[in-house]
Every structure is written in structure tokens, then in C-alpha cells.
């Protein structure tokens, strides 16, 4: 069965998650940690490519995994041109767009770059990305902001949202393409998508656009106040972008990125933590309500997923506000790796069309 080994790479800010799948089973899974003293040498995540690549290679080597046996490498898809949902073979166009950061500057871009770098080392090793964060299935009304110079872009946790929605549909023995679902991804970023018959027709722009605040990000801020702040705070553009991307939300209020830590603070009676955590649930609920209207108030269910879905307190605060819209299903955690591996497997077996990025 050696012919179907797949290496999966999902880079995060301070670690790189790698896995080897054989058929549909995980053979090996590891979070390769990148301590501060390592990452401190780099001023930008793009400079970390060789470092992270070598870390991955030596980790695999140490565990006796030979890359010669692997058929495909799949990386988490980053910020590129808007594309349709599916699997893409990594070509120069993808690598160039990820490296240029023209479509967004975030470490998620390392996924495709690392996959390609590793594939280049071995003949016949193919590399892919699946459902990058810029998958765009918006309907036309969702693109408007409130000014012609601004367009709302589709940037959200496509991979996990779709994987969870499909898993849910399968469990009900229904087709994802025939359901209307609201999917709530609760991770370091938070996105809420309106899934209408297999397409995500609207979602909050979870990177630097709108929606609820999250552990790392501010989400929407009052625009007038933000403009005044830009011109009068003395802060630089980079500082402000950093603030809304990585130093907003829970971190800015409570000094931690860990929602589960906040959950524990709440359990220990920390009133401030409770107020902030509840406000996050409040904003998530409001976004769910907005997507409910997008779907004409007719849905088959609400799916709550991501790491924070492990906090029962948090999830209950949401359910309390949205339960009369439809059944709520909670799937804690993410299945990004499973989904990437499965789709790649189907693709190299010829069961799934491989798309070309231009």
C-alpha cells in the first residue's frame, strides 16, 4: 500500500504541523515547535522557508520516514487570487502569488511554498494545495461594502468549514450540495459562513475585514474612530495592521491568545475574562444572525467548530442566542489535515478533478 502516502503541511505562527497519511489513516502527526530564539532571527515569515523546510525534513528523517515513498505533498492554501473550491497542483503562479503577498500577508502563505520546496527535492513528487483561504463562491450581493473603492473579499477558513459541513451532511446521510447551513469556525481567527447548496455565498472577511473579534484579531472596529486613530495616534501602518491581525481581540483585552485559558479564567470567577469572553460569543451570535438573513431565514442547521468549540461555556453562550433558528451541532476541533489528505488522495487516484491556478 506504499503507493498512497501523503505528506500534509500546515504552518502556524509558532509551529509547523506535519502529518503522513496512508490512505485515510494518519501514520504520523507532529507539531514541530519553532521557539522564539529560532524565529527571532527572521524579520518576516517568508525568510523562514528554508528553516521550516529543513526542520520538517529532519523531523521526518528522525522518525524513519523516507520521502522517496511519498506520492504527494499537500500544503495549507494561502492568500492568492480568488479561486473556486477544490484542489490545485502547485505551479509557479501559485508560488509567485504566495511569495509576493500581493493578495495578503500572512504566515498561512508558507503552506504552499513549503510543499513545493519539498516536492522539488524528489523526482515525481507532486505538490498541491486544497481549498485555500481565498476560495470565492460569494453571490454578487455579498461583495458590496458601502463604497465603490472597497470590495468585500472572500477570505475565511474555507477548508475546515467545508470539511465540517460535508462531514455533518454525511452523518445525516444527506448531500452537502443540497443543504443550507451556517458554519462557525472558532480558531485564532473566527469566520462564519453561509453555505447555500454547496457554495459559501457570504462569510465575514476573517483576516482583516469584518465580523466578530477573535483570540488574535479585532474583527470589525468602528470605522470613523479607526480613521481618526490612523491619522492621530502616531502609530505606523505596519503597527496598526499588526494590531488588527495579531494583537487584537482576546489578546488585547486579556493578554492571552488561548481561548481555553480564558475559559479557565472564567471558571475561576475572573469577571473581566467573563465579560470579554461573553462579548466574543455575543459578536459571533450577531454574525450568525446576519448569515441567517443571508439564507432567507431558512436553514438546516448551525455547525460550530474549531478549537474554541471545546469550551462548553462559550458554545452555550452562543446556543442561548441562536437556538431558535435551527438545530445547532457542535464539532470541536479542526479537520483541516484529514480533509487535505483525503482530497489529495482522491485527486491522485483520479477521483477528483485537479484544478489549474492561473
Amino acid at each position: 500500500m506504499n503507493q498512497d502516502l501523503i505528506l500534509v503541511i500546515n504552518p502556524r505562527s509558532i509551529y509547523t504541523r506535519v502529518a503522513i497519511y496512508e490512505n485515510y489513516n494518519v501514520l504520523f502527526l507532529k507539531d514541530i515547535m519553532h521557539p522564539d530564539q529560532d524565529l527571532g532571527r527572521f524579520s518576516h515569515y517568508l525568510e523562514q522557508v528554508n528553516y521550516r523546510r529543513d526542520k520538517i525534513l529532519s523531523e521526518l528523517d528522525n522518525n524513519g520516514i523516507c520521502l522517496d515513498c511519498i506520492q504527494a505533498v499537500v500544503g495549507r492554501g494561502g492568500l492568492m487570487k480568488p479561486v473556486k473550491s477544490g484542489i490545485y497542483e502547485i505551479n509557479d503562479a501559485i508560488v509567485n502569488d504566495l511569495k509576493s503577498a500581493e493578495f495578503g500577508d500572512d504566515y498561512v502563505n508558507l503552506g504552499g511554498i513549503l510543499a513545493k520546496e519539498i516536492a522539488l527535492l524528489y523526482p515525481n513528487l507532486r505538490s498541491f494545495i486544497v481549498d485555500p483561504v481565498t476560495v470565492d463562491e460569494y453571490h454578487e450581493l455579498a461583495r458590496f461594502t458601502g463604497h465603490k473603492d472597497f470590495e468585500k473579499k472572500s477570505i475565511f477558513h474555507t477548508l475546515n468549514q467545508k470539511a465540517m459541513a460535508k462531514r455533518h451532511a454525511k452523518a445525516l446521510m444527506r448531500k452537502y450540495e443540497e443543504m443550507k447551513l451556517i458554519v462557525v469556525h472558532l480558531g485564532s481567527g473566527i469566520s462564519i459562513g453561509a453555505h447555500c447548496h454547496g457554495s459559501v455565498i457570504d462569510a465575514n472577511q476573517a483576516l482583516d475585514g469584518d465580523g466578530p473579534f477573535s483570540p488574535e484579531r479585532t474583527g470589525s472596529l468602528p470605522v470613523g474612530d479607526l480613521i481618526r486613530y490612523c491619522f492621530n495616534s502616531g502609530k505606523s501602518e505596519a503597527e496598526l495592521l499588526d494590531m488588527i491581525h495579531y494583537r487584537g481581540g482576546l489578546f488585547s483585552y486579556l493578554g492571552t491568545y488561548s481561548a481555553l485559558e480564558v475559559d479557565a479564567m472564567v471558571n475561576n470567577g475572573d469577571k473581566k475574562a467573563e465579560k470579554v469572553f461573553e462579548a466574543m460569543a455575543y459578536q459571533v451570535s450577531k454574525e450568525i444572525g446576519a448569515m441567517f438573513a443571508v439564507l432567507n431565514s431558512e436553514i438546516d442547521g448551525i455547525i460550530i467548530t474549531g478549537g474554541i468549540a471545546n469550551s462548553r461555556w462559550f458554545v452555550n453562550k452562543i446556543i442561548d442566542r441562536v437556538s431558535n433558528m435551527g438545530p445547532v451541532h457542535v464539532y470541536p476541533g479542526v479537520m483541516e489535515l484529514d480533509s487535505m489528505a483525503q482530497i489529495t488522495l482522491s485527486a491522485i487516484r483520479g477521483d477528483e478533478e485537479i484544478l489549474e491556478y492561473k
Binding site: 472597497f150 468602528p222 487584537g248 442566542r321
Partner: protein, 359 residues
């Protein structure tokens, strides 16, 4: 000696017009919507500079219509952008005037209401000047104040006067006190605000002035914040220019060059696809905000009320209704009730039923 009772003069300055009316109780005796042309207003740099111009226009309109002002006991001005206040009526004093002139949070035509009201009242023997339910009425639950970063806070700025008047009207017609109903009110005028009214208190509403919620004829509503930051630092625009994109030249004006929703509808009916799309998008965004407020009220909503000038357009209200009618019954109260609302509040003050607050 005044022989007439409960005569009230009402002054309501909007972005492009000033409404003036005389009421006896809730009965309108005279009402005129004074339209200010763009050329007239263009010569003023700041809204506060329009004070003399608008005041003199009002005086001449009253004179031309032979309105006898000696009967007036109360002059009600629409309140403006001042410090957050409780719902109700406030007597105009120096402190209030000072904040109306130098708004602590931003300029708005309604700031002129209290100032002009005070000036007119000073020239009528025995008359007092008030403002009521200004846009800064603040009844937020604390949870609604959290933005997404401690440097920022969500503020309660909305069409409190009309929203409250319509919510009361709905409650009255259903023989329930306003203090016992849960309603979502969408006020759709030059700006659009959608408020969650829980038992007489507006516990959350999009900050419709500069930066939240749906776009409207003249305002952008929410814009993607990363791109806003990029714009601010691009060096291509001044702070004032960017703020103008948000308030004044956003929304329909930015997309289609008009702030007239009727004009957009007629263009779309004539086959202008772009106009149709943007008309639909505005309704879409209003519906999303209504959906959001539905969760604020835990899904326990007695009615959704659509009001304001845009609610005259049945095509528009139908687009919203399609998306939200399953949430709660939808009622349409087209137009604005602000003049009558101010007069009613004024009457309650003159009869001693309502005590004016001090600013």
C-alpha cells in the same frame, strides 16, 4: 397673557433640509420641509457655519406664512451629537449649547436643532427650548460596548427619536406598553440604523453615523478595516477626505452618484443593472443587520418595524421582508414621525406629565 395653550414650534434640521412645524398638542397646524440646495450648503465649510443661514431661512418661512409665534410655549429642537444621555427630554442651557456648537464626537446637522430652538425661544415671551431623544441616547447593555480592542468602544448613536416613536406607536396599536415589547426597528433615511429594543430600552444598535452596519444613501456603513488602514496611510487622501467617504459621500452616492433611493429604483426599473444590484445590496445589508439584532434579543422578537423615508419604497421593504419575515411579523411605517414625535414629547412636558432632564 397667552390665551392659546400647548402651542409648540418644532425645528428639525436634516442633512439637506430643515423641517419646521407648529403643533397644538399632537395636531399639526403648519408644517414645511425647507429644502436646502447643494449650492446653498456648499458654501459652508462646517455644518455649524450653517446656523445663521438655516435660522434666517426658518424665520422668513414663518413670516411668509403669517405664523403667529406669540402663542408658542415650547420650541422643540432635534438633539444632536452631544454626550451620551438617557432617553427623554432635555432643556437647552448654556452647557448643552456649548456641546452642540463644539460637538465632542463629530458634526451633524441635528446639532443645529437645539441651537436654533433656543434662539427662537429667546425671542418669544414665556417660551422654553428643549431637545428630545437626541441621536446619542444611550441604553446599551455593557456587552454591546465591546468592540474588538480596548482602544475602541462601540457607541450608541442612532435615530433615537424616530425609532422610539415608531416602537411606541406599534406598542400602542397593539395595546401593550412599549416597556413590555421586544422589537427590532430599522430606520432607513439618509443614514440607516437598526436597533434592538428590549422592553423599552435600545440595548444595541449599529453606530450609523460613521462606521457600522449597512450602507445607506449617503454613508458607507462598515468598511473592511485592513483596507481602511491602507487608505489612511496611502498618502493619497487627507483624513477629512476619507471621513467624507464614510459619511456624506459613501453608500448610494459613492456607487451611483445620487442619494435619492427613488431615483435608484427608477433607474433599476428602466433596466440599469448596476442600479438594481446596489439597491438590492442595500436591502441585503439591512436584512443582515436585522438578523444580527435578532440574536441580541435571544430570538425573542415581537415585531420588526421598517421606517424612515426609504420605507416608502415597497420594492425595498419587500426585499428585506423576504429575508427576515420568518423571524417575526414585519410592519412598515413609511416616512418619519420625528416632527410629531417632538411635538408629542413637548406636549407631555407642557402638561407636566414628563419632567425635563438637565444636561
Amino acid at each position: 397673557m397667552k390665551t392659546c395653550t400647548n402651542h409648540i414650534l418644532v425645528i428639525n434640521p436634516g442633512s439637506t433640509s430643515t423641517k419646521v412645524a407648529v403643533f397644538q398638542g399632537a395636531r399639526s397646524m403648519f408644517q414645511q420641509d425647507i429644502i436646502h440646495s447643494e449650492e446653498d450648503l456648499a458654501s459652508f465649510d462646517k455644518i455649524a457655519d450653517q446656523y445663521e443661514f438655516r435660522k434666517n431661512t426658518i424665520i422668513s418661512v414663518l413670516k411668509n406664512n403669517d405664523i403667529d409665534l406669540t402663542c408658542i410655549e415650547a420650541v422643540m429642537g432635534r438633539g444632536g451629537l452631544i454626550k451620551p444621555v438617557p432617553a427623554g427630554v432635555i432643556e437647552v442651557d448654556e452647557k448643552l449649547k456649548n456641546d452642540l456648537r463644539n460637538s465632542p464626537i463629530g458634526e451633524h446637522a441635528s446639532n443645529l436643532g437645539g441651537l436654533i430652538a433656543d434662539d427662537l425661544a429667546n425671542n418669544i415671551k414665556g417660551a422654553r427650548a428643549f431637545i428630545a431623544n437626541p441621536v446619542v441616547v444611550d441604553e446599551f447593555d455593557n456587552i454591546a460596548r465591546v468592540a474588538g480592542h480596548p482602544l475602541f468602544e462601540r457607541k450608541s448613536i442612532y435615530h433615537a427619536l424616530n425609532q422610539k416613536a415608531i416602537a411606541r406607536e406599534y406598542a400602542q396599536s397593539h395595546s401593550i406598553p412599549y416597556e413590555e415589547v421586544n422589537v427590532i426597528v430599522a430606520h432607513m433615511g439618509g443614514g440607516i440604523t437598526v436597533g434592538a429594543h428590549r422592553k423599552g430600552r435600545v440595548i444595541d444598535v449599529n453606530q450609523g453615523l460613521d462606521g457600522e452596519g449597512p450602507f445607506s444613501p449617503e454613508r458607507s456603513g462598515h468598511l473592511p478595516i485592513g483596507q481602511i488602514i491602507n487608505y489612511c496611510f496611502s498618502g493619497d487622501y487627507t483624513e477629512k477626505e476619507i471621513r467624507k467617504m464614510v459619511t456624506g459621500k459613501g453608500g448610494l452616492v459613492a456607487y451611483l452618484g445620487t442619494n435619492d433611493t427613488r431615483d435608484v429604483l427608477s433607474r433599476s426599473l428602466r433596466g440599469d443593472d448596476k442600479a438594481k444590484l446596489i439597491y438590492d445590496a442595500m436591502a441585503y445589508q439591512v436584512a443582515k443587520e436585522i438578523g444580527a439584532m435578532f440574536t441580541v434579543l435571544h430570538g425573542d422578537v415581537d415585531a420588526i418595524l421598517l421606517t424612515g423615508g426609504i420605507a416608502h419604497g415597497q420594492d425595498f421593504t419587500n426585499l428585506i421582508r423576504e429575508r427576515v419575515h420568518k423571524l417575526a411579523p414585519v410592519f412598515v411605517y413609511p416616512g418619519e414621525d420625528e416632527m410629531k414625535a417632538l411635538a408629542k414629547i413637548g406636549t407631555r412636558v407642557l402638561t407636566g406629565e414628563l419632567k425635563p432632564l438637565k444636561y
